[in-house]
């Protein structure tokens, strides 16, 4: 079997969908952050795929990926900090308890 771009893209899409499913259904705030990481990795997979198959000379996608990983790390750090500060106030990380801002 010859590896094609489509397979990478499909895998990334599947990973992205799994991430979204986790993002929407998780009750634990940390798992939501983990799902976001999954989605970002799906994006990274896309970028790498495109970089290899379409732009093998200048590999701009790989540079993007490096940036995404960096920013994702920062975002995870901030996200965990937010979760921690909410936990300090409400003593829970259950997403369904954080519904104060409704209608």
């Amino acid at each position: 079997m010859h590896l094609q771009l489509q397979y990478f893209l499909l895998l990334a899409a599947a990973l992205f969908c799994i991430g979204i499913y986790g993002l929407i259904t998780s009750r634990n705030a940390v798992r939501v952050l983990m799902s976001i990481e999954l989605m970002l990795n799906a994006v990274n997979l896309n970028l790498m795929g495109f970089s290899n198959f379409i732009d093998p000379q200048e590999i701009k996608g790989q540079v993007f990926t490096v940036f995404v990983i960096t920013v994702a790390a920062a975002e995870a750090a901030v996200g965990l900090a937010i979760v921690l500060s909410i936990y300090r106030n409400r003593e829970t990380v259950d997403m369904e308890q954080f519904n104060l801002l409704k209608w």
């Binding site: 929407i24 259904t25 998780s26 519904n99 104060l100």
Partner: protein
């Protein structure tokens, strides 16, 4: 000199109008110190001035052709609304009758309204009536006649509603206004429909037009019927006659005016319109039949009344019915003579009974009696008035009725029989009232009944003298046929019918042996006449019921359907806002889902052509 007064005859209505305005300051809320009497004196003076002016003008108009002056009022595009005034011996003579009777009624009111504070309002309205009626007879245009008729309808409303703290007065004024208004509105339809046909509203030009007009019979019939509807309401003809009965709630001096002259305003317009009505045989016979039914019904209802004012008000309808008969058979001149003799006699009758009511308090004829010896002036006035109204040879009514009968005998012999019957019944009715009020034994209400004081007695006696002189005036004006051409058969029959009515009435009501209250025939039949054929109930069950029902239905539809639809829009908006706010669930993950849905949906929409091609490829395989 007299010529000057003739040329300024347009001032005659203005005097009264001025009096009407000058009376207002003596309303109880304006001049608080002097009391209301000057209002009456000013108006009587103004009426006297108008009367004298008319008298001098009449002497100038004698044996002269009619003069017409034009007062420009309004000109818009191709419509020229100029007020034409006609000064002829007939019109000036009519203003004399109007201002004369009004003067007497105003002097009478000085006595009658002794214990009343509302002189300013009362005299102001009386003067308004005088002004309106004088303007009506001088005005030679159908359009302006209509305007004046409407003003007088409003005047009737205010004058009947004079003592408005009485509930019956309020309902009576309401009915008087609405009934006359309905007739006037039909008249307006006729007035407006006439303009495209004739191109003028000037009565003399209308008569010229009608003499050569070639109008579709249906149009002519509808036009004629609309034009008689106005006078029908004004003259209290069946079926628009209930208002006159209810208008008897007003003060007596205004009743003098109403019974004698106001109801004649409609007849005046009808007489002026006679050439147009004659265009359609249907309209002419409708006039005849309305008049005949009213004359017969009115006299019979008058016989069954116990209210003394109402016994006369139905005779008013009946005599106006005779005017309708005269107009329906094309006798305009006779109708005018009949109106003159009628107005004078009826005013005298109302003055006489007004004096009785004034110090016997009750209006119930069954509670009055035996006033003959105590009230000779009133009794003689009543007798003269009654004799002047029905066919009693030397007096005016006889000649007028004779002319009507003479014409009927050669054209509609059946209606001559009706005329004789009406005359007999009217005589019976008048004799009955005389017998009950002046004859018989005194009853508790009339045990001590002094004769009235001079302001009421003076106009009554003056008018009695005038009534006695009416035949001489008619002779002077050559309105009476020569003795040689007199139709002796009709004259004999008329006198016979009066004699029969008088004898029968005297036998029943001047005979103390005859049991009173008189019961004749069927009780329900007697009630039918006493309650005026239950006209009030008929109105209530037909027109009033339908209009009430329709207005309720429309009001309901407006409130619940029209308003409802608009309110529904508002309610739906509020409801949607209230229910859609739950989309803001407060769950961050739900927001993320919504964003996702949005993106997916947008993606599908954007890439739809692509997807469609894809499906084609898939299907291709």
């Amino acid at each position: 000199m007299a010529q000057f007064f003739l040329e300024t005859a347009w001032l005659i209505p203005c005097y009264a109008l001025m009096g009407s305005i000058l009376a207002i300051p003596w309303s109880p809320s304006l001049i608080r110190r002097t009391g209301p009497r000057p209002a009456g004196y000013i108006n009587a003076l103004m009426t006297l001035v108008a009367f004298l002016h008319g008298l001098i003008a009449l002497s100038a108009t004698w044996n002269q052709p009619a003069q017409e002056i034009l007062i420009p009022w309004l000109q818009v595009v191709d419509l020229d609304l100029t007020i034409p005034l006609e000064f002829s011996s007939i019109t000036i003579g009519a203003t004399l009758v109007i201002s004369g009777i009004n003067l007497l009624a105003q002097i009478y009111a000085i006595g009658y309204m002794e214990m009343d504070w509302g002189w300013a309002r009362f005299y102001s309205l009386l003067a308004l009536f005088e002004a309106g009626m004088c303007a009506l007879v001088l005005c030679n245009s159908l359009f302006f006649s209509y305007i004046i008729l409407e003003v007088l309808t409003l005047g009737t409303y205010l004058l009947v509603g004079f003592w408005f703290n009485q509930s019956l007065v309020v309902t009576g004024a309401r009915d008087a206004f609405l009934t006359k208004r309905v007739g006037d509105l039909f008249l307006l339809m006729g007035v407006i429909a006439l303009y495209p046909l004739a191109g003028t509203w000037n009565f003399s030009e209308l008569a010229e037009w009608a003499s050569t007009a070639n109008v579709d019979p249906k149009v002519a019939a509808l036009l004629g019927l609309a034009l008689i509807a106005g006078p029908m309401g004004k003259c209290a003809q069946f079926p628009l006659h209930l208002w006159l009965d209810l208008a008897m709630e007003g003060p007596v001096p205004s009743t003098i005016l109403r019974n004698a002259v106001v109801v004649c305003t409609g007849a005046w317009v009808l007489i002026k319109l006679e050439p147009i009505i004659a265009l359609s045989p249907l309209a002419a016979s409708a006039t005849l039949i309305i008049g005949a039914v009213t004359a017969l019904g009115g006299t019979m209802v008058a016989i069954a009344q116990i209210d003394i004012k109402r016994t006369l008000s139905y005779l008013v309808s009946a005599y106006m019915g005779l005017v309708f008969i005269a107009v329906g058979t094309g006798q305009s001149e006779t109708a005018l003579t009949l109106m003159l003799t009628y107005a004078v006699s009826m005013a005298l009758l109302v003055m006489s009974i007004g004096g009785i009511v004034w110090n016997s308090i009750t209006q119930d004829v069954t509670k009055l009696g035996g006033l003959w010896a105590k009230r000779p002036a009133s009794a003689f006035s009543y007798l003269v008035g009654a004799a002047g109204l029905v066919a009693v040879p030397p007096l005016g009514g006889f000649f007028a009725l004779l002319q009507v009968g003479d014409h009927l005998s050669s054209t509609y012999p059946w209606f001559l029989g009706l005329l004789l019957l009406v005359n007999g019944l009217a005589t019976f009715s008048l004799t009955r009232v005389f017998g009950l009020v002046f004859g018989g034994k005194p009853k508790p209400m009339s045990e001590r009944s002094p004769e009235v004081h001079w302001p009421m007695a003076l106009p009554m006696l003056l008018l009695m003298g005038f009534t006695l002189h009416v035949p001489l005036i008619l002779l002077q004006w050559q309105l009476i046929p020569d003795w040689s051409t007199l139709n002796t058969t009709v004259a004999g029959l008329l006198v016979l019918s009066s004699a029969v009515g008088c004898t029968l009435g005297s036998f029943i009501y001047l005979n103390n042996g005859f049991a009173k209250p008189v019961r004749f025939g069927n009780k329900s039949l007697q009630d039918l006449f006493a309650y005026d054929f239950y006209t009030q109930k008929v109105y209530r069950l037909t027109i009033v019921f339908v209009v009430d029902l329709v207005s309720r239905a429309i009001s309901w539809a407006d409130r619940y359907i029209v308003d409802g639809v608009v309110n529904l829009v508002g309610i739906l908006t509020v409801f949607s806002g209230q229910s859609l706010k739950y989309n803001v669930s407060g769950q961050t993950q739900f927001y993320a889902l919504t964003i996702l849905f949005g993106i997916v949906l947008f993606g599908i929409v954007v890439s739809w052509p692509l997807l469609a091609r894809l499906s084609l490829i898939v299907n291709g395989f």
